[in-house]
Point group: C2
Chain length 342, copies 2
């Protein structure tokens, strides 16, 4: 007699989150928003706290054969700050927990913390707590970030309305292309340890993979412009996947335009070199940590001339679906592939 | 030429925390208390939030050959609630992150979450967020708990004064003795899988190890009695180790009395059966998650008749040192051994 066994890979990460979330109800009035956005929102007197957490494992989220520990520390903080940014909040505190196998010396931990502390300084957050423990296998890092905002400043995934303008910061696809380059050079190195990796011409894409930036600069600019997006997310799983989240939460459709999608020249050239479709990298590449947000048309003039914000399309009625209009004018249905760890 | 390599095991967990904490400074006025207590304290308008986090790894913190996943889930929450209790605060929200290898089915995750949700219900906290990801090796659980208190209710490790009374809740040593029994039965099982483990007579000690209780009941009673301890910690690393923390933070000495130390009969008998010294189990056994706190003598009458609070000694001038007075009247210097994962 065998018990029923359902593989996690059959339902995927989002399926698992949906499955687990169904059993969870919020009881405290102070729990304003629970699972289902970039961060939780907790009432805090005259303001709200936003809380987010990420768990990063060696061999799954980073590979120490090419990722320097200092960058791993910086990135572990940055990805959490990016979730705070995605709520339109200002990060204030973080906790950092690490589990270490005896492969790691004190000097290695210092390198890791050099990155953690550099990120804390860069994003102006205090490291207020954490946990250190042993691990049987490799490095595990868990960061929780806490931010603050006025209640009315918080931006959810669910606020987009029909005919809003869809905005994206920076450029996309670089982190995925960077990962492919790092993996390629790793294989070259493993085949012949005498070979020196050639990374100079791939600096932008590898840096995006190894040491991404959370776009707090944009959040501060939006605050100064007195512009509150109608919805917002950070792009950690890929543009298409994030657009699906916004469509679902906001009950809208989207039309985006291939010729508006921002891609860096190095990302484009490297994708072509690797035999990858650059547009697929832009749509489905994860870990860029740029911001995806929607604005009311009346706010367009405030951002119109911004050098680093791109207007890639607009929201539609939900029944109009989710489409990418190619350069040749063909409307293709968007598919969310996302970034799968399982 | 070799670079300097310092082993983490040479400096230990507390040495590592001290080393890393030195480089951390707090910049935000809202960061009231950072690393160095059971939880961080963050200003939150008319009250404070307390935040604590724990990282639990399979093979280090729990062994799934004898720990049911439901208990592992419950314990992962309870140990964090215990840290909130230790600040004299009321827990409100938790985030739960898990990393899973493909050994774990959806049914296994459901069993884990059954325990997590049972603990959330039991301690009246909302699960507001988290992260789910893949793992290459076993289960990793990271829980962050957020609690609330009025600023003046927060109790630190640093508030004990000379001639305060040292109190301990419940009884001690059970979790360590329970762990030894579980490990013994595991070895028996590994040697002969036909053997059924005999755990009936060890129910109290094994339950303490597998499914400990955070003492929120005591925190609510203290609030009702309008009694604010002068210092408090939870006993996760062992009584002696925690007393050292209070002595260091509060700049006091301590004298405790062997005949006042609370030990359950089953813990005592099982320790003897295992050839362990029961008093050593009480002093150095970790994971009991009882509360250790000090009170001003004027508050003694409020707790005098409490059936589950034990008065084990008193604080002294720091230069008087840290002593255990044995049943025969001999004063022995206390040694902090603590609970070492490294």
């Amino acid at each position: 007699m065998s018990e029923k066994r359902t593989e996690i890979s059959d339902i995927g990460e989002f399926g698992l989150i949906d499955h687990l979330s169904k059993k969870i109800t919020l009881k405290h009035a102070s729990s304003i928003k629970g699972i289902g956005d970039d961060a939780a929102v907790i009432n805090s007197g005259d303001h709200v706290k936003v809380v987010t957490t990420d768990l990063l494992l060696e061999g799954v989220h980073f590979d120490l054969t090419y990722a320097p520990l200092t960058h791993v520390g910086f990135k572990a903080v940055a990805v959490n700050i990016s979730d705070i940014a995605a709520m339109n909040a200002i990060p204030k505190q973080i906790t950092v927990s690490i589990a270490l196998s005896n492969r790691f010396s004190l000097e290695a931990v210092d390198a890791l913390y050099q990155g953690i502390n550099a990120a804390a300084e860069h994003y102006n957050v205090d490291v207020v707590g954490g946990d250190t423990t042993a691990s049987r296998s490799g490095l595990v890092i868990s960061v929780t970030a806490i931010g603050e905002a006025k209640n009315e400043q918080i931006v959810y995934r669910s606020g987009a309305k029909e005919k809003d303008i869809i905005c994206v910061t920076g450029d996309l696809g670089a982190a995925l292309v960077g990962l492919q380059i790092l993996e390629r050079e790793k294989q070259v190195f493993l085949a012949n340890p005498e070979m020196k990796p050639e990374l100079d011409k791939y600096q932008i894409v590898t840096a995006r993979q190894l040491r991404p930036e959370a776009r707090m600069d944009i959040i501060h600019e939006l605050l100064e412009l007195d512009l509150i997006p109608t919805s917002m997310m950070d792009i950690s799983d890929g543009l298409a996947s994030e657009l699906f989240h916004i469509c679902k939460a906001s009950r809208v459709g989207v039309t985006i335009y291939e010729d508006k999608l921002p891609i860096d020249k190095q990302t484009f050239d490297t994708a072509v070199e690797l035999g990858m479709d650059p547009i697929t990298c832009v749509l489905n590449g994860g870990e860029d940590y740029e911001l995806l947000f929607t604005i009311d048309q009346k706010d367009y003039h405030k951002l119109e001339k911004h050098p680093d914000i791109h207007f890639i399309g607009h929201t539609t009625k939900p029944e109009e679906g989710k489409y990418l209009v190619t350069k040749s004018g063909t409307a293709m249905e968007l598919k969310a592939q996302g970034w799968k760890h399982f």
